[in-house]
Assembly symmetry: C2
Homo-oligomer: 254 residues x 2
Amino acid sequence: MPGPIQSLERAAAILRLLAGGERRLGLSDVASSLGLAKGTAHGILRTLQQEGFVEQEPVSGKYQLGAELLRLGNSYLDVHELRARALVWTDDLARSSGEAAYLGVLHQDGVLIVHHVFRPDDSRQALEVGAMHPLHSTALGKVLSAFDPVAHNEVAEHERAALTARTVTGAAELEAVLDLTRARGWAADLEETWEGVASVAAPVYDRRRMPVGAVGITGAVERVCDESGIQARLVAAVRDCARAVSRDLGAARF
Amino acid sequence: MPGPIQSLERAAAILRLLAGGERRLGLSDVASSLGLAKGTAHGILRTLQQEGFVEQEPVSGKYQLGAELLRLGNSYLDVHELRARALVWTDDLARSSGEAAYLGVLHQDGVLIVHHVFRPDDSRQALEVGAMHPLHSTALGKVLSAFDPVAHNEVAEHERAALTARTVTGAAELEAVLDLTRARGWAADLEETWEGVASVAAPVYDRRRMPVGAVGITGAVERVCDESGIQARLVAAVRDCARAVSRDLGAARF
DNA sequence: CGATGAAGGTCGACATTGTCGACCGACGCA
DNA sequence: TGCGTCGGTCGACAATGTCGACCTTCATCG
């Protein structure tokens, strides 16, 4: 396999640096963070700016991400087949469950949210499309970790942060949770990611019966749970939705 | 000014090609569309794939945009100061007007939607963050064209498509509309972009009193208009919101 | 069923291209 | 007024990306 293109790798590293770090970075910050000569970093930044991938504050000269990324990210959603198929079903899921519905796919070491339907009753909710959620503590993440071998590797190799007192961080305990998930075909998150918030999710399969994503709902624990855990009707609604999307994608009947 | 980096320009062109064109493109399509040797195109695509900016369908080998773009686009929103300041005000605007509220900025030859609050009452609305709207026919676009010289150049130089029977396409007529917009400080779109849909928008200024974006509302023409055009209370609500955001950004009092 | 063409991908020689580090002017601070 | 740091430029050098021929695979078609 021939080598990758150096300047592109560096440009990608710069974009990630700008995305992850502080709000705005100066040229020298970028250069020293990545171990590049200032001239080199400047050339890359200048080109990225010209293409709209980064913007420069005219006063201070600091750099930040550019609008073209938002446009391209939106185009990604348009092309995404899983998302297109799931649109109508997740809408129904949110309506019937009364909670916010999510569609996520594996991306790097997390769950990338590619669709989000707001909870029907309420307003003032932040949109989370494009956000990343952890693999080891969310219902979506556990489903992917349980059914997708690549996700399983990721969750096994990465540090698992204790986000709340209930987060499962031990390798053996997590493995047991994933076994349970595989056995029953769905996963739950009972205040393991955010205090007071619970979620349920189930896997979506493509035409070759490979897991390609997960759908789920998230809501306040007192609405979503009863004395025995997640309410059975919500689990059923989520699983029905996952099956419906899978069928839309061409997976064989269950 | 030293030259831009060739491989980066080409990579950006490939991403735009994938974003704009058909759903998926093969290696040869990409190479011939951009006039590149197959080997060259392959090297760039391989690197972009490695970085997550494009994905390759394992069967068929065709390429499409990758998930990393969505993640970075989302990070762009996090960093965007105008958007951060506008979040709460546009929320209020949607609530008080009962219509969907939008925040847009100039990007290339269009309006890039960076925030969108759903209409409060109804569900089943498509999210439009990341979408591009035309400059010459939408209220947001007219506001930007009227107050931002760069946007004015763009709208003057580009072809203005007739999206509906009411779209203003002539240069002189558009200029008159923009003059009116400048004079009264807001713009309207009465079924000039979509049949049955009207919108109002007003400009947002930064601390140096430079126009940096526009806020507006959009809704069915029978709800938004009365016999004299856009309802006065809606115009007032939009202008109040724009002033509030501008004040938040540090613009002097009006 | 073998020929054919077009697909994605690889390879190695070449010289274009991006990189490096010294340098420049501007700004802010003491 | 001088120092330190900032963003940005310049030119030499060779590392780097590019090109076009070539390989394998697959679907098509005579």
